[in-house]
């Protein structure tokens, strides 16, 4: 029985987006991976769950300044590296691969992209400080905020409470969306001027905090309608979170295959049992799809950050990569057998990050529904 073969190529698009690692990508990947291998062992990440955060500060300082990742996406005019989301995607794949407990996504992607809309000297100098690694910034919204939802603003008088904020514990500066007239402005508030309470989190490698802050505090970083900036920041965050999820999924797949190539039961290598082979083949197919799709989304964002293509690609990548990372982590726990259920084995660190990432920046179902609106498929 012979499959229908395909006709002539209807869409060669010779100038299509490149989805492979370039030589520069490979160098960047090797640098980041090497640094993490040396300074971010899984035992140190597990220790964070028991309250020992000693790995966090030096690791972030090193990545931010030694490797200069803090300002990766910041324009050179602000002392940044002026790199594109494609480069950040490579970095996040590696950060995900070692569930590194650092605020790269929250400060160097979301806050930095938001601050690129800075309209005041205070805002511009904050961006420059962020780029040099001198400051670490967190946007004060719940981690579950979607880029296309209404920006949750801090309003009212006195102390206002925002729950489940990511990156705040690592930040020295908070970026607070405040209602201003019928628009939104962003206040830069020193962390010391706000109450930041740690939350026992599903994913302690991206520990949440409840933030209490006075909307009138701090200096204005973005005036007038800052909503565009916040949305741009969250769009970049959503797009690049998919690459983090790819790193998680790839680690889980690789660790599981490796384990099953070693483990013997019934006198056979367990990885030779066909039911597991087929599940891993399907998982591999899903993970390969995730990595191509996340890279496409990053490339589309790099090509035109304001284009519809970037939003379509972001929704697609978020919907797919979120679920694939969770599936890969759940399969890793299951297929490691009992050992995957133990604290000693790192699999649980990936399960917790993957599940938390699935809830972050909009649920997969939310992204599918919004994608439908963009491509003209609605209920």
């Amino acid at each position: 029985m012979t499959a229908p073969t395909t006709g002539p190529n209807p869409d060669p698009s010779p100038d299509e987006l490149v989805l492979l690692d370039t030589d520069d990508d490979r160098d960047l990947r090797a640098t980041v991976a090497g640094y993490l291998a040396a300074r971010c062992p899984s035992t140190a990440v597990a220790a964070v769950y028991d309250g020992d955060r000693s790995v966090v500060a030096p690791l972030w300082r090193g990545l931010a300044t030694e490797l200069g990742l803090a300002g990766l996406l910041v324009p050179e005019s602000y002392a940044g590296a002026g790199a594109t989301p494609r480069d950040a995607a490579v970095v996040l794949e590696e950060l995900g691969r070692s569930v590194a407990p650092v605020p790269f996504l929250t400060s160097s992607v979301i806050a930095a992209t938001t601050l690129a809309h800075a309209s005041t000297d205070a805002g511009r100098s904050l961006l420059a400080d962020l780029a040099e690694g001198g400051r670490t910034v967190a946007l004060v919204v719940p981690l579950t905020t979607a880029f296309d939802a209404d920006v949750p603003v801090v309003q009212g008088h006195g102390q206002v409470h925002v729950r489940s904020v990511a990156g705040a514990l690592d930040a020295d500066t908070l970026l607070v969306p405040v209602a201003a007239g019928d628009g939104i402005e962003l206040h830069a508030v020193p962390a010391g001027d706000a109450r930041i309470e740690p939350v026992v989190s599903l994913d302690m490698s991206r520990e949440l905090a409840d933030v209490t802050v006075d909307p009138t505090a701090g200096t204005v970083a973005v005036e007038g309608d800052a909503a565009a900036g916040v949305r741009a920041g969250l769009l970049a965050g959503t797009t690049l979170l998919a690459s983090e999820q790819v790193g998680i999924a790839q680690w889980c797949l690789q660790a599981t295959v490796g384990h099953l190539q070693e483990r013997r039961q019934f006198g056979r290598v367990v990885g030779g049992f066909q039911a597991l082979k087929h599940r891993l083949a399907d998982l591999y197919t899903a993970v390969e799809g995730a990595s191509a799709t996340a890279r496409f989304a990053a490339a589309a964002l790099a090509a035109d950050p304001h284009g519809e293509e970037a939003r379509i690609a972001a929704h697609t990548a978020a919907a797919w990569c979120s679920d694939v990372a969770v599936l890969a982590a759940e399969e890793a726990v299951q297929l490691h057998g009992g050992i995957g259920m133990t604290w000693e084995h790192p699999a649980h660190l990936y399960l917790k990050r993957a599940k938390a990432d699935q809830l972050a920046l909009g649920l997969p179902g939310h992204h599918r529904a919004r994608l439908g609106e963009l491509v003209g498929l609605t209920v």
Binding site: Y49, D50, P142, L143, T144, R163, S164, V199, V200, S201, L202, D203, M204, L208, R264, Q265, F266, G267, R268, F273, A275, L276, V326, E330, V333, Q334, G337, G338, G340, M341, T342, W343, E344, A347, H348, L351, K352, K355, A356, Q358, L359, A360, L363, G365, H366, R368, A369, V379
Partner: protein, 395 residues
């Protein structure tokens, strides 16, 4: 005996021993003596020789009457697995010695089966038992032992002959957990706590009369135990929205702000599956009661595990940002819980703990093999180690 007659018998007993005013210990021993402990057990051993299907009725009558509990929670292994094994394969001396204190919850049992190198392939176990006069000397390591730190006795399988194929060199023992050679260490799991233990056995001495079944016949006995385990799982009736489904249905009703049609349909898919599992369990119990043998446990456990996992995962999505918080005490702090707590702790705990449901008590992969081979009659896996002496199989 008809259900009606049995009901009368129970009511007569309750009239004679009013739960409110009767001493707990006295009540339990009286219930055992009256054959109302487990009515499907033989007379003289806490039963009346009735069908297993009648047990739930008795259980519920006593529960309704507020009868004292026999530690059924902490002694689940003893009641669910050890007792039927001792009844079926044990010596009369063992039945006399162990069944009554076991049922009354005065002696707690655990199970020393799994090993680091012998999980799904339990028969590959490496713990050795060597005869020494009237005793056996046991050395090895066991793992995934729940309740080992509270247990007085254990059911234990060990290798007594490494020179024959794996299934033929295993013997089954009843071991005293208070033996000085028994070292119990907590095994921390992904919830942060340690429900289970690793148990290191160093020159543990077991008198030969504590052997269950013949030397080398331990695999057959162990399978009897494990079948009981599988029957026990998902073996009792749940009301609609019982178990994890009820928990998640409640959180749906509480978290209105998170409702989307997509989450709703996934919830309803699982709701339907929950109802299907409930009806399937009901029919299996009716088959059991009417003496029709059913594949029973295996398919129910497969479903139970998958539903618990999918429901608890969906619950986190339903809760949104609240699903990212692990605030029920003690959070990630290491502790030794007495039981699995799917109701008292928060959604994050349930999500993580439920992952174990498809591993503990037989992985879902092994259960699918069992269904395919024993129910559907499909060929077994090619067995490269079946006829090879245990000590010649690579591991």
């Amino acid at each position: 005996m008809t259900p009606a007659e049995l009901r009368e018998r129970v009511e007569a007993f309750l009239a004679e021993h009013p739960p409110a005013t009767t001493d707990r210990r006295e009540f339990l021993h009286a219930r055992y003596a009256a054959g109302l402990a487990w009515v499907h057990f033989p007379e003289g051993h806490g039963g009346l020789g009735l069908s297993r299907g009648l047990h739930p009725l008795v259980e519920s009558l006593f529960t309704t009457a507020g009868a004292p509990d026999n530690n059924s929670r902490t002694n689940g292994i003893g009641l669910g697995m050890v007792a039927p094994t001792i009844l079926t394969y044990g010596s009369e001396e063992q039945r006399e010695r162990f069944l009554e204190p076991l049922w009354c919850g005065e002696e707690i049992w655990c199970q020393l089966f799994s090993e680091p190198g012998a999980g799904s392939d339990l028969a590959g176990l490496a713990t050795r038992a060597v005869p020494d006069g009237e005793e056996w000397v046991v050395n090895g390591q066991k793992v995934w032992t729940s309740g080992a730190h509270n247990a007085d006795f254990a059911i234990l399988v060990a290798r007594t002959d490494p020179d024959v194929p794996k299934h033929r060199g295993i013997t089954y023992f009843l071991a005293d957990m208070h033996d000085p050679g028994v070292d119990v260490r907590p095994l921390r799991q992904i919830t942060g706590e340690a429900e289970f233990n690793e148990v290191f056995l160093t020159d543990v001495r077991i008198p030969d009369p504590m052997r269950v079944g013949a030397v080398g016949d331990g695999w057959r006995v162990a399978n009897g135990t494990l079948n009981n385990e599988r029957v026990a799982i998902g073996g009792s009736a749940l009301p609609r929205e019982g178990g994890m489904l009820g928990t998640v249905a409640r959180s749906w009703r509480e978290h209105h702000d998170q409702h989307t049609p997509e989450l709703h349909d996934r919830l309803m898919r699982l709701y339907v599956e929950g109802e299907v599992a409930r009806h399937t369990g009901q029919r299996l119990r009716q088959q059991l009661a009417s003496g029709q043998p059913g594949p029973a446990g295996a398919t129910m456990k497969l479903t139970f595990a998958r539903l618990n996992q999918q429901l608890s995962g969906l619950d986190l999505e339903i809760r949104g940002a609240e699903g990212l918080r692990y605030e029920s005490e003690p959070g990630w702090t290491m502790r030794r819980p007495d039981e699995v707590d799917f109701t008292g702790r928060d959604a994050v705990y349930r999500y993580l703990r439920a992952k174990g449901n498809s591993i503990e008590g037989g992985t879902s992969e092994i259960l699918r093999n069992i269904v395919a081979e024993r129910v559907l009659g499909l060929p077994a896996e090619p067995r490269v180690d079946k006829d090879v002496p245990w000590n010649e199989v690579p591991r």
